[in-house]
Chain length 306, copies 2
């Protein structure tokens, strides 16, 4: 079993099975990926909101990789065990015009985080977000010819933004090309299920993964194992949305949580939206009591002072 | 502070602000509700699947109540603190033709549970579901004239099927009529977020709630506080669905979990569907990476033997 490393200067944009491997490894090997933040350095620790307005989207998602795993063949399953994810010294969150769940947030907004206290990140008004780092993008090359955008996730995994893929988790991905060609990007210090404002706590850092191959598993969808989470000794507060359209209901539950956060904690609505994105989880409470579904946006009370 | 009781013979069907109160209490009082199972006794511990086929739907949701809370006025918020929920000796789950998330399950199916071991319910193949009882229906009278069905939840709460409303939780509901007129029904021994097959572990039992009134809160949507949950020391397994339509993606993630459960644990597909409904949680992992959303159906591994 060997340990190898992909350094910050080795990355690619877009999924493309023609990308030359940055590294070839054997099953059982582990790889440390040095990962730039998701804008390839366009946003810096001292950036102003103009950096969000002027983003060059062709430089989003610099992906460390690809890694060629020997013996992986189309139809196999690639297992990716998350051994460690380490955040850099700072991070950012933003509201980006035209993205995010809620269309009423049109003005670009940038929030910068200090991540030097490794266990939590301080927000406004004494709010502390526990650091639970993971990679938002973990995927393999697609079988089709050509280049494919990273933003939407797909059958190859990719930019799934699953906050549960922290250290101790194991992701399983279908393999479509020889060697699988695994890449990763979009390191997050913390995020809530939903990532509602379109960013987590985005940051640079490193991730160490151990790879394995299951033969002929014919997996058609990503799946994962994750450990339990203990981020809420004080309990949770949940805002619901109730109605017949699942997307509308989800938006309503987030809007109701934003209203609660602004009223209860004196946050601006932009900060409340960012807080939902980095700390609140979106759950489907029921999807069978026709014609109305219930979605809950849940925030752990441990993040608030007192 | 008084403790009062509503017995099994006091119930009503449908929401209707004209229902005469079964009990009048003061804020701070607690009430124990004796609750029949959701079919009003049409399904019994020795029932066969015919009982599901022949259900008289006019006798679904026998609601204990209504309780008139003195001082509650339209525009106030009713607080309902869940002090205790106790299950009876048995329960049932079913696949009911035309209901449930997945349209490919058309054949009625009935599963009966023994709940005499108070901490867990045994399923097939050594699987044990932790008992986490709550009331699927908790609501207040609507402001409109007339009778309204219980099945769909709404602005008055009602049949929200929120599995987190176990003992220790506090539900907040908007008040629409003098006295609020609170009722409850649909006691569940266990359920997963989503309740995907349309039933939880349905059972008779009792629930004890303490009521309070917040003046002039102008709450427009139900919200709740809940305690943390520790049901997964062994961790979780999650099946994803990924694509552009939120409902389709949710169905896909449940289908993928059913495929996993049948293959890994040798369950029939009907039992796997029921297991998802009573033990797996449906979460929105991301809803911003346009145009594809990721939904995960997550099952705690503690329920499986070994």
């Amino acid at each position: 079993m060997a340990s190898q490393r992909i350094t910050l200067d080795t990355f690619h944009y877009k999924w493309n099975k023609a990308h030359k491997p940055a590294l070839t490894i054997r099953p059982g090997d582990d790889v440390t990926f040095e990962i730039n933040e998701v804008t390839s350095g366009q946003i810096k620790e001292d950036s102003k909101v103009d950096a969000v307005k002027n983003l060059d989207i062709s430089k989003l998602y610099p992906m460390a990789g690809p890694v060629y795993i020997e013996g992986a063949r189309p139809g196999d399953t690639l297992t990716v065990e998350v051994l460690e994810v380490v955040t850099g010294d700072w991070g950012w969150s933003a509201i980006v015009n035209g993205l995010g769940l809620l269309e009423e947030f049109q003005e670009p907004y940038l929030y910068l985080w200090n991540l030097r206290k490794k266990h939590f990140a301080e927000f406004e008004r004494g709010i502390r977000i526990p650091i639970r780092p993971f990679c938002g993008t973990m995927g393999v090359a697609l079988p089709e010819e050509g280049s494919f955008e990273v933003l939407p996730p797909g059958k190859n995994g990719g930019n799934m933004d699953i906050r549960h893929l922290v250290a101790g988790s194991i992701l399983e991905l279908p393999v479509f090309v020889d060697g699988a060609l695994f890449s990763t990007s979009d390191l997050h210090a913390a995020m809530g299920d939903g990532e509602v404002c379109v960013t987590a706590i985005e940051c640079p850092g490193t991730a160490r993964f151990k790879f394995g191959v299951k033969k002929d598993s014919k997996l058609s969808w990503p799946r994962y194992f994750s450990k339990g989470d203990e981020k809420a000794k004080k309990g949770y507060y949940t805002a619901t949305g109730i109605g017949p359209d699942l997307m509308t209901v989800t938006k309503d539950s987030v809007r109701n949580m934003i209203a609660h956060l602004t009223k209860t904690y004196g946050l601006t609505k932009e900060d409340a939206y960012v807080l939902c994105s980095v700390a609140a989880d979106v759950k489907i409470h029921e999807i069978v009591d026709q014609p109305n579904w219930v979605v809950g946006t849940t925030i752990p009370l441990d993040i608030f002072p007192n």
